[in-house]
């Protein structure tokens, strides 16, 4: 008998979900704007607040433009055995998640335990407040090939194919996450990419567009 295996995703019961949603709403509407303002007035790199089951951590993006997540260089640095592996290894992947989870100006992670998954899910569907830029990410592990609509300046709609990632000969579409204008492509054609890797920037026409 297999000693281990996958277990199905757990479905939280309705009341738990409701409480969860209320928690997320309070976070995004009340707590976050206040925290972002607070962080702006300090020279702190990071700020964390705990309340009940939730904790929110804001981190100033270091040296990268807001909205950018993982880049090819991250992987290269992780390829050095012993370099980031032991002491600082933890900071690197966490940084990725922070940046990717929000895509916004502040880099926000929120959640505890099972709740974090639903928070991330929400973040992927609706661009967070204050966002002016989005990123099309890789749908799979494979070789990236930008398409004709990946040219900088092209106006695209959410769901448009911007290119493909080739998985064992089967191309999978890289989709525009939002309506907007194609910005820079972060990965060269023919390069290997991993699942969820940032590939193509999309500039939103106006910040208000992001909220709709």
């Amino acid at each position: 008998m297999p000693d281990t295996g996958p277990r199905g995703d757990r479905t939280a019961d309705a009341s738990f979900r409701e409480a969860d949603h209320a928690g997320i709403a309070r976070l995004t509407e009340e707590l976050l704007p206040a925290l972002i303002a607070k962080l702006g007035t300090t020279h702190l790199g990071e700020l964390e607040v705990r309340e009940g089951d939730w904790h929110v951590r804001l981190r100033r993006p270091f040296g990268t433009a807001p909205g950018e997540g993982r880049r090819a260089s991250d992987k290269a640095s992780r390829s050095q055995p012993g370099h980031e592996g032991h002491g600082h290894g933890r900071a690197a992947p966490e940084g990725h998640r922070a940046a990717r989870g929000s895509g916004g100006a502040s880099g926000v992670t929120a959640g505890t335990g099972a709740a974090s998954a639903s928070t991330n899910g929400t973040g992927a569907d609706e661009p967070p407040v204050g966002r002016s830029r989005a990123v099309a990410t890789s749908p799979a592990v494979g070789i990236f090939q930008p398409g004709s609509r990946a040219a900088s300046g092209t106006r695209v709609r959410a769901g448009d194919s911007l290119g493909t990632v080739n998985v064992l000969g089967v191309p999978q579409d890289v989709l525009a996450p939002v309506d907007g204008i194609v910005g820079s492509t972060l990965v060269e054609a023919g390069m290997a990419v991993e699942y969820g890797q940032d590939l193509i920037r999309i500039e939103l026409a106006t910040p208000t567009e992001a909220r709709s």
Binding site: T4, G5, P6, K75, R90, P93, V141, L168, E194
Partner: protein
């Protein structure tokens, strides 16, 4: 030997394989799902690559994602660990089609041993005593009833694919059989995508003993002794030890020798485990073979000093075994405790959450294989194994004493664990006297078992 191995698994076994790679001087790339981004194997690997979302079907169970990851990271072999794709002959076939090596038996060997019912007949023909069971798969209810009558109740309904207790039911009457078979079919269908079932004679008060074998590509084979896995909960092992207290030294040696002879004759290759049920008279019956590294492999490593994962990799690379049976010495006694994030007081409900404090015990004869660290968040999507505590001592009594001390020292805060069950086991008379059977816990239930230990 390989140059670069893709580790297509997670948790403690990904870390264990990574350690074997380091020892062999082979580079290791670890695959991970989005839920495992902060995991220890990801942090320690030479390279890590995200292959999909938390849902295992789109990450750890996705053959295209795993193989694509191996190709883009320049690996020449894939280690599947246990569970997930580890015994999937189609996956092994596709791995080979992409000029990669599957670390395990070659696809045609996996295929030959894929059906549990077929394997029982195959190894039976090569001299293994096998458990009485149905003649082939159950075609319909009528066939099932006729076969159960022929075998004699109680019988165990088992799915041909997969395991882990899913789709398995023991029944004592024809009426129970008729209702249970429907449940088993639907469980097997949803868990393994295959609803074929067969029957096995059920032995009341049985013990579970398994033999570890290693066979190279050139037909040289050895056994590495046996492990007793009788302490289970609903067909899931929770504590394993070696040597088994169920058999005499002579009977243990005979069983292991018979097992390795049969698998070599049947054309098995790489490391594997043959599982047996042992009845109250000490008769052993073969039930199934596991064509992969097992969770409980450290028990054998402690007794023999052999790195089983390293051996598995070497055999897959085509190296000769380089060991004769006479080279294998068995020293002392080892016990492994599976530390799971589950709540024994609430029907072993699995838990998830952040590990707030963690301390692994140490000292002579103590080994902890775990991917847990303080601050690690246990994701809710996968199995609940947090790690394995393995203790070794010159004899069983001393090993139990070391087990007690190590379990006392082990600290896991933040999630509920089954550590209390292990402490209770080490105070249980049946266990202490080596009389435990596979129904030790299920007969009374976890909560009652804990209460009984507390009342002592």
């Amino acid at each position: 030997m390989f140059r670069r191995i893709l580790i297509a698994n997670r948790g403690e076994i990904a870390l264990r394989i990574l350690r074997a790679c380091r020892t062999l001087g082979v580079e290791a790339v670890v695959t991970y799902s989005e839920a495992d981004r902060d995991s220890l194997p990801v942090q320690l690997a030479d390279e890590a690559i995200c292959i999909g979302p938390a849902d295992a079907r789109r990450s750890y169970l996705s053959a295209p994602a795993v193989i694509s990851a191996a190709l883009v990271t320049g690996c020449d072999a894939v280690h599947p660990g246990y569970g997930f794709l580890s015994e999937d002959e189609t996956f092994a076939e596709v791995v080979r089609a992409h000029d990669l090596t599957f670390i395990g038996p070659p696809p045609e060997v996996l295929d030959r041993f894929a059906s549990k019912e077929g394997t029982r007949r195959l190894l039976g023909a090569f001299g293994l005593p096998t458990i009485p069971g149905s003649d082939g798969m159950l075609r319909d209810d009528e066939h099932a009833l006729a076969e159960a009558d022929r075998i004699g109740y109680p019988v165990l309904i088992k799915p041909s694919a997969g395991g882990g207790g899913k789709g398995m039911r023991m029944v004592r009457t024809s009426r129970e059989l008729e209702s249970a078979i429907k449940i088993c079919r639907s469980e097997a269908k949803s868990a393994f995508g295959d609803d074929s079932l067969y029957l096995e004679k059920w032995l009341d008060d049985n013990r579970h003993v398994e033999v570890q074998v290693a066979v190279d590509r050139y037909g040289a084979g050895i056994h590495l002794g046996e492990r007793d896995c009788s302490v289970q909960r609903r067909h899931q092992k929770i504590l394993e030890e070696s040597p088994t207290p169920a058999l005499s030294d002579g009977a243990r040696a005979t069983l292991a020798e018979t097992a390795v002879r049969a698998v070599v004759a049947a054309g098995y290759e790489n490391i594997g485990t043959l599982e047996f049920l042992v009845d109250s008279d000490g008769n052993a019956f073969f039930i199934e073979i596991n064509c992969r590294i097992q969770v409980e492999h450290p028990v054998t490593e402690m007794l023999t000093g052999i790195d089983l994962v390293g051996l598995q990799i070497a055999i897959a690379a085509g190296e000769p075994l380089g060991l004769r049976q006479s080279d294998i010495a068995f020293n002392g006694h080892a016990i492994e405790f599976r530390i799971n994030a589950e709540d024994p007081a609430h029907d072993f409900r699995p838990g998830a959450g952040v590990i707030e404090r963690y301390h692994a015990p140490g000292g002579p004869g103590i080994r902890m294989d775990s991917h847990v660290y303080p601050g690690y968040e246990v994701p809710p999507y996968y199995d609940s194994l947090l790690g394995k505590l393995i203790v070794w001592a010159p004899d069983r009594e001393a090993a139990i004493a070391r087990g007690r001390a190590a379990l006392e020292e082990l600290l896991v805060d933040g999630v509920t664990t089954n550590i209390e069950i292990h402490r209770a086991l080490l105070e249980n008379d049946a266990f202490l006297e080596g009389r435990m059977t596979t129904n030790l816990l299920d007969r009374v239930g976890g909560a009652a078992f804990l209460a009984a230990a507390a009342a002592r």
